[in-house]
Symmetry: C2
Amino acid sequence: MRLSRRHPRYESLIVRAGLARAFREGLVVPEGLIAQGRGEAFDYFLGERTTASARRAERIAALWLWAAERPVVSVNGNVVALAAHEVARLARIHPRLGVEVNLFHRTPARARAVARTLRSAGVRRVLGVRPTVRIPGLPSDRATADREGIYRADVCLVPLEDGDRTAALRARGQRVISIDLNPLSRTSQTADLPIVDEVRRALRNIGDDLSTLVRRGSARAMPPFDRHAALADAIRTMDRRLIRAARGPMPRKRAGR
Amino acid sequence: MRLSRRHPRYESLIVRAGLARAFREGLVVPEGLIAQGRGEAFDYFLGERTTASARRAERIAALWLWAAERPVVSVNGNVVALAAHEVARLARIHPRLGVEVNLFHRTPARARAVARTLRSAGVRRVLGVRPTVRIPGLPSDRATADREGIYRADVCLVPLEDGDRTAALRARGQRVISIDLNPLSRTSQTADLPIVDEVRRALRNIGDDLSTLVRRGSARAMPPFDRHAALADAIRTMDRRLIRAARGPMPRKRAGR
């Protein structure tokens, strides 16, 4: 379709067009596009920027990933469509970080397409293309995992994850860092370290922090993280913007961050 | 895909699966699925129910449509996927109501598919399949309309409409009733009578009110409508739920309404 640059939501429509393309390439499922829309609405309320509280969570996430013995980042269709390069950068900076394909709507062809895109972006080893084990307590094909990856990971970074799966990982004693724009989702409510931020912004920030840790050569002392405070802060930010919006038009994204 | 009934968001996932099916049938475009997700998030904040203020707006919408000389309802891919039967019911109750296919991402095949679904649902005459005129002030193919339909309508009911188009209709002096879950969207902000409610709930309520008007045989006096108060009320509802959510888990849909 032709899209006029005069359209006031041109930029956001272009992001949508990109996801639609990923959809046509078989990376993203229809349900994934709907989930993206939900995220867009929450990001709109957040002001389409990283809050100070999310930025703190991202810094601690980098420390957790750096200190972990077997850290893994889980990648689904939406994550690879939106942030394949950000994932590849994390894996480059942090060579012990496993990268595992993890699809809610899994078909072998889709798993291969996601892996192909990750490899094109520079990920050397992609786990989970042929799952080798099942995570207990999960129904259907969402239980599948890689014995070398998420299954034995001590810290899992799960962007845009399903609540069931987050809960199942937690039940196994694994530490879960989530990236989810909805502070009220079961994923955010269940994760040990919920990051309420857009996936590309969050992964870029975590990458920046990992770079700093690599340069320093040693991890700093681990600061405490209050998950309830972090979630409450995200909700308060959305609420403040709503109240402001009720008085006048909502300000769009600002420069910086 | 197989979906477990044990999944806590089973119902909402089933609605998504239905839209995904409509997508595969060519009714809905990828961008439409993303737009649906945005709507879902706003409905979540509304409590997935019709507010008292939206219900008032729907009653007045029925009166406007009933009193109009050439009322038309505009139907796009998402509307037909979600509410073809609700649209057909409106047309059955209110025989003067034109039903026009109006696609943001228009192809002749998609226009035909939307018309076909409307006819299967019971709409006798579908306008706009072959557009005959352009609405001034709109770029690209979104300007197309039916000379017998939206182009000469005095009252247009536009569910899930684009802001540009809403503004162009208003600029021509046509009265616009919108149905849009985002009270801050340009469509809601521009329409004469913005209904902030989910499209199926809104069309069912308007249908009920039209039935009552038909039984009575005459329209009541037209009550005043304060669009700013209606939009502020929707925002306040979302705000109240956010504040409550910050204290504990958000209650899901309740029975009734």
